[in-house]
């Protein structure tokens, strides 16, 4: 589904150019749950921003379902993002002066749906993340875990092809982290959602199918965690 080949990414600061991603080759198949680990500043966010169509300034080829992303216009890129990716960020990224319902509705509205069409879908998405009846709450009245569930509901609302999660548990305590990760594994197992998640936490990473380690902008290792261990862990929580 996702195919990166020979990706290079530079940041320019004044006269200096930082080579942040170096010759990255990566294939992610539909239904995979991938964890990306690595030290701070190693280029994890940069990599998944490219995968999630947030960043189209890179060298190399990115084909998503046989379509070349690098050649897309900004407008098409936004459209693609809206239809194909759901984002979950470390600090939730909810709009605080909108209600839960309104926050979740945003991707639907940009997909061209009217408010009246969104109601039922929002309710379903909230049920899916275990926040039944929270439609009219404001984000700041919710706990961190609840806010992250809202942002997951928002990420799922347009039935995307894959989820991008950049340190989704980074701002949460360990108990809440477990709940969020269990939500991811369920999504992956039950709905075969493709998930690409950046994390620092090995325990979290081990709930995934495959762990990729990034070091100084290159892929240092790429290992399967093993189906069995996943099952045991999922049942354990």
């Amino acid at each position: 589904m996702i195919c990166l080949s020979n990706i290079n990414k530079y940041y320019h600061q004044g006269k200096n150019a930082y080579h942040v991603l170096k010759n990255i080759d990566l294939v992610v198949r539909a239904g995979e749950f991938v964890a990306i680990m690595g030290q701070s500043g190693s280029g994890k966010s940069t990599l998944i921003n490219i995968i999630g169509f947030l960043d189209d300034h890179f060298d190399g080829d990115y084909t998503f379902e046989k379509k070349n992303i690098a050649q897309m216009s900004r407008q098409d890129c936004a459209h693609y993002r809206n239809r194909n990716v759901g984002f979950v960020f470390q600090n939730f990224k909810l709009i605080n002066n909108l209600t839960v319902k309104e926050n979740i509705a945003i991707p639907l509205l940009y997909a061209g749906q009217s408010f009246s069409q969104t109601e039922v879908k929002i309710e379903q998405a909230l049920n899916q993340v275990g926040l039944h009846g929270y439609q009219n709450q404001y984000p700041l009245n919710l706990s961190g875990g609840q806010q992250q569930r809202v942002s997951i509901a928002r990420a799922l609302i347009n039935k995307p092809k894959f989820l991008i999660a950049d340190e989704p548990t980074g701002a949460l305590d360990s108990q809440t982290s477990k709940e969020i990760i269990s939500l991811f594994t369920q999504l992956n197992l039950k709905s075969s959602m493709t998930i690409i998640m950046v994390t620092h936490d090995l325990a979290v990473a081990q709930k995934s199918q495959r762990i990729i380690r990034i070091m100084d902008g290159t892929i240092a290792s790429d290992q399967e965690t093993g189906y069995e261990s996943r099952l045991i862990n999922t049942n354990g929580t």
């Binding site: 960043d55 407008q75 936004a78 940009y110």
Partner: protein, 369 residues
């Protein structure tokens, strides 16, 4: 915001007044398509000793013949209020003022009794005299009651004396019954003549021609003057002032709209920078740069049209206030509403576009870090 309100207020005020003048001028310069228009020509005697009606049958015929000037009907009107008469008191001619009434006049009597509509209908030769006139011409109040006054060959009996008041039309020396007073006169004699013009005539100009004609051929041209109030001229004068004002007000409006625009731009820039995170989130979940730009443009336009609505209300109000002082009504049309609406929308778009573009072109990666 204040700029928008001031700008739109002044635009609407001046446009409404301008429309009002235009409408009133048209109405007075030219008979409208549907209605016929009338104009009154008055006659003023030069020597007030020499009272007589300025228009008679001959004038009627003369004016009526002027079909080429659009005259369709001529009606000589009796003057019943505050006219001059010559009265004979103790064999002496006195120049007095009088009002002729059909019904009991609303005056305060200090002696005697009032005259009534009955006196009028049976042409009783009775009249009322003011206290001042009574004291000047008779020895006492009591001596005045029952005295005789000769007017146009008829002898009237004084039946009541009323306190002078400044209230028109009873601020005259005498009050007498209309039917009695006019009984000797032919119906078509009087000091003013009402002329009805046929559709589409140029009233101001044609009335002027008629006055010139009367000066040459009018039956009483030697003893008085003819005149008419040219509303057309008056209004076109006001019209000139208004159109001069229009430039001035347009300048004010232009400046305040410009200042308003700068204000809107500033507000939008602040809003864009305060909502950077929101912009980033919206872009991340699929808003295109054009969506973001439209969102902020719409907000700018909402801001200005809100100001526009307030300004429009104030403008209509102030035009109405001004028109109380002027001899015509302000006219606010749907067209001026549309104009104001477009102006404010355009201001919103022009001054909103830069901040909106800035919002749309923000770097997503930098925002989301």
């Amino acid at each position: 915001m204040l700029g928008i309100i001031i700008g739109i207020t002044s635009v609407i005020t001046i446009i409404s007044l301008g429309n009002g003048v235009k409408k009133a001028t048209l109405k007075n310069l030219q008979a409208t398509k549907t209605g016929k228009q009338t104009v009154t020509i008055d006659y003023y005697v030069n020597d007030s000793n020499d009272y007589q009606a300025g228009f008679d049958q001959a004038d009627h015929t003369l004016l009526k013949s002027k079909n080429d000037l659009g005259v369709s009907n001529v009606k000589i009107q009796r003057v019943t209020k505050e006219f001059q008469i010559t009265a004979v008191i103790f064999d002496t001619n006195k120049n007095l003022t009088a009002t002729a009434v059909k019904d009991r006049p609303g005056v305060r009597l200090i002696a005697g009794k009032n005259i009534s509509s009955y006196d009028n209908s049976v042409q009783n030769q009775r009249l009322l005299i003011s206290k001042q006139t009574a004291l000047k011409n008779f020895k006492s109040i009591k001596g005045t009651l029952g005295a005789s006054i000769l007017i146009n060959g008829l002898s009237y009996t004084v039946v009541g004396i009323y306190a002078n008041n400044n209230e028109s039309p009873y601020d005259t020396n005498l009050i007498l019954p209309q039917e009695t007073y006019f009984q000797g006169q032919v119906n078509d004699q009087g000091n003013s003549v009402q002329i009805t013009f046929s559709k589409g005539s140029k009233i101001s100009k044609n009335t002027e021609h008629l006055v010139t004609l009367l000066k040459k051929k009018g039956s009483h041209r030697n003893k008085g003057e003819y005149s008419f109030t040219d509303m057309g001229e008056l209004l076109s004068g006001i019209g000139k002032v208004i159109s001069a004002l229009t430039y001035f007000v347009s300048a004010i409006a232009g400046i305040s709209l410009f200042i308003a625009g700068i204000g809107v731009m500033n507000m939008m820039y602040i809003s864009v920078s305060e909502r950077t995170q929101e912009i980033g989130i919206r872009l991340a979940v699929g808003a295109s740069p054009r969506d973001i730009m439209n969102q902020f443009l719409l907000e700018a336009v909402l801001l200005t049209t809100f100001g526009d609505l307030i300004g429009f209300g104030l403008g209509v109000g102030s035009a109405w206030l001004f028109s109380l002082l002027l001899p015509f009504k302000a006219v606010t049309t749907f067209g001026s509403f549309i104009l104001a609406f477009s102006v404010s929308t355009i201001v919103g778009i022009i001054f909103g576009i830069l901040p909106a573009k800035q919002a749309a072109n923000k770097n997503l990666i930098d925002i989301l870090k």
